[in-house]
């Protein structure tokens, strides 16, 4: 440890949360450290710990200042939480082996499911087959969830298919649509308005309110997109409903 956490910064997000900044760049090493810290916190919560939310370069730790105050006396609860996290981080090994979940996402590309597939191909001087190949060949890493329940911010998409958002957002993008926005790829959990270039759709539900955890994807997951046919899509959809 030591060296890896030299640049850690603590900031307050209001009076009931601490943001622990561990770096500035989007990279898998930072993601692994944050997942590690999240697991440590959840295994060793302090009195007053509420929950923690990892992002690309930081993790936000929510706490109840009144509980911390009653347990620790007069020091400000912010200082207590920062100290606690620093202590916890000394237990971290920078090369700790965490088992990464691999999640396969079947996707039917193009046609009615992916109305922008041809545009993405044309824009990048590729054929639609090449776009599908490039999109499904790379493994993507889930850095964080946010924006909507079950929505994953992913990294690792092949930049050869990067395409900027539409100038005019669509009013409704169907749930489970797979899209591209700049260098990012993502899946819409719900029908929402949006400007992403839609290249396909998955039969899998992203938000699972009745299950634990309530999301198909979790930060730290490795994602593999698998091209499927229209028939396979319909079959998978049917077995799930």
């Amino acid at each position: 440890m030591g060296e890896a956490f030299k640049h850690v910064k603590f900031k307050s997000l209001g009076d009931s949360a601490v943001m622990v900044q561990i770096g500035d760049s989007i990279d898998p090493t930072n993601c692994a450290i944050l997942q590690n810290l999240l697991a440590l916190l959840e295994d060793h919560p302090f009195d007053g710990f509420a929950e923690a939310v990892p992002a690309y370069t930081n993790i936000t730790i929510y706490y109840h200042p009144y509980t911390v105050f009653r347990m620790t006396g007069n020091i400000t609860s912010y200082d207590f939480v920062c100290q606690y996290v620093k202590q916890l981080m000394t237990k971290m090994t920078s090369n700790k082996q965490t088992t990464q979940r691999v999640v396969e996402i079947p996707v039917v590309y193009g046609g009615e499911y992916g109305p922008d597939l041809e545009y993405v191909a044309k824009r990048n001087g590729l054929t639609t087959e090449e776009v599908i190949q490039l999109h499904s060949a790379n493994e993507c890493l889930v850095y964080m969830l946010g924006f909507a329940p079950g929505f994953a911010f992913m990294g690792g998409m092949n930049e050869a298919i990067a395409t900027s958002r539409k100038d005019t957002p669509r009013l409704a993008i169907p749930a489970r649509s797979v899209g591209i926005a700049g260098k990012q790829t993502g899946i819409y959990p719900f029908e929402t308005p949006g400007g992403w270039q839609i290249i396909g759709r998955t039969p899998l539900d992203l938000f699972l309110p009745k299950e634990t955890p309530p999301s198909l994807l979790q930060a730290g997951d490795c994602i593999r997109f698998k091209p499927i046919s229209d028939e396979e899509y319909k079959q998978l959809k049917e077995t799930r409903s």
Binding site: D15, S16, V53, Y56, N58, F69, F147, F151, F190, P214
Partner: protein, 332 residues
């Protein structure tokens, strides 16, 4: 024991103290906008503080009781009446079978809470009964209340029973009511205390002064998700791209328009706009009582002051709970 919705009003939803623990999956917290009033409403009828109640916005809601039931009304003064007579606020009372509770117009504040002894029976989804409108989840079938909805309430616990007995013996009009002035303000002109946000240093010195030296007016774009304000624009020293990261209740974001947005109970879990300041927890409930057109002045305080104010309000709630326990001679 049931209550029937005769008119849903502008927006009436079931809310508790919020859905915590799933923000890392993108699940928003929701919960009461004015959590202090919700908690007091529950204390008044002998429920646990975090129990679900009805959050009534501005006006129009009409409910009918199908049994005698112990209830309490807190939060905004929305001119509540029982069978046309002024309803007691901030104290427990028995609504009788057939009674009609009506919220006529917003006299002071924006959101009132109706608690029922024994709570409201709706499924608990991810540790909470709060309604999450956008995902159609929690609360009453995941939506705002509609005409003819029937809510299951109760049954009483021993504490509910004792408070019900106590309320039956109370004089009408009230011999007492909770003094809420130390907890919340229903004024439409308020000073709202803030501490520095994570991107405070990225704003120009001029904007930093402008924020606290001017009044900001709550626009009509104000709902459970967020409040947009009108007023002098605030600008960054230089534009930059912020990565998405956690945001919370009371986060003051400055979008490219330069007009502040305060995130409220139904905020998303993460956001990408610079966070200039953050409303202190102790002032969130008062913020929840603002109507469009209300004027606020931001006042900077330190993190220590913010945490002290929070602790003082928690102790105030504890004192209220103790006073009620003593005067109603509760056994636990």
């Amino acid at each position: 024991m049931t209550v029937t919705v005769l008119k849903p009003g502008l927006l009436t939803t079931i809310q508790d103290t919020g859905r915590f623990g799933s923000q890392k999956f993108g699940v928003i917290v929701s919960g009461a906008m004015d959590a202090y009033s919700l908690r007091i409403a529950n204390i008044l009828v002998g429920n646990v503080e975090s129990e679900a109640a009805l959050e009534v916005s501005l006006f129009g809601t009409v409910l009918q009781f199908n049994n005698d039931h112990l209830i309490a009304l807190t939060g905004a003064d929305l001119t509540a009446t029982i069978n046309g007579e002024s309803a007691p606020l901030w104290r427990p009372f028995i609504a009788k079978k057939g009674d009609i509770l009506k919220f006529k117009r917003a006299h002071k504040g924006c959101r009132a809470y109706v608690s029922f002894a024994g709570g409201i029976h709706v499924p608990t989804v991810m540790n909470s009964k709060s309604t999450y409108l956008k995902a159609g989840m929690g609360g009453f079938e995941g939506r705002a209340l509609q005409k003819k909805d029937e809510l299951n309430i109760g049954p009483y616990t021993k504490t509910n029973q004792e408070l019900s007995q106590y309320a039956k013996n109370l004089d009408a009009p009230a011999t007492w009511s909770v003094n809420y002035h130390e907890l919340i303000s229903l004024n439409q002109q308020q000073t709202i205390r803030v501490i520095h946000g994570t991107e405070w240093d990225c704003f120009t010195a001029e904007s930093q002064l402008r924020l606290t030296n001017n009044q900001y007016t709550l626009s009509t774009e104000a709902d459970r998700m967020g409040y947009r304000f009108e007023g002098p624009e605030l600008s960054l020293i230089e534009k930059f791209e912020l990565l998405s990261e956690a945001v919370t209740f009371g986060t003051v974001q400055i979008p490219p328009s330069g007009k502040p947005i305060i995130l409220m109970a139904d905020r998303q879990t993460t956001g990408g706009y610079p966070k200039m300041v953050q409303v202190i927890t102790a002032d969130l409930a008062s913020l929840a009582q603002l109507q469009s057109g209300a004027k606020i002045q931001f006042k900077l305080v330190s993190l220590e002051e913010a945490q002290q104010a929070l602790i003082a309000k928690e102790q105030n709630i504890k004192n209220i709970a103790t006073a009620i326990r003593l005067s109603a001679k509760l056994s636990s």
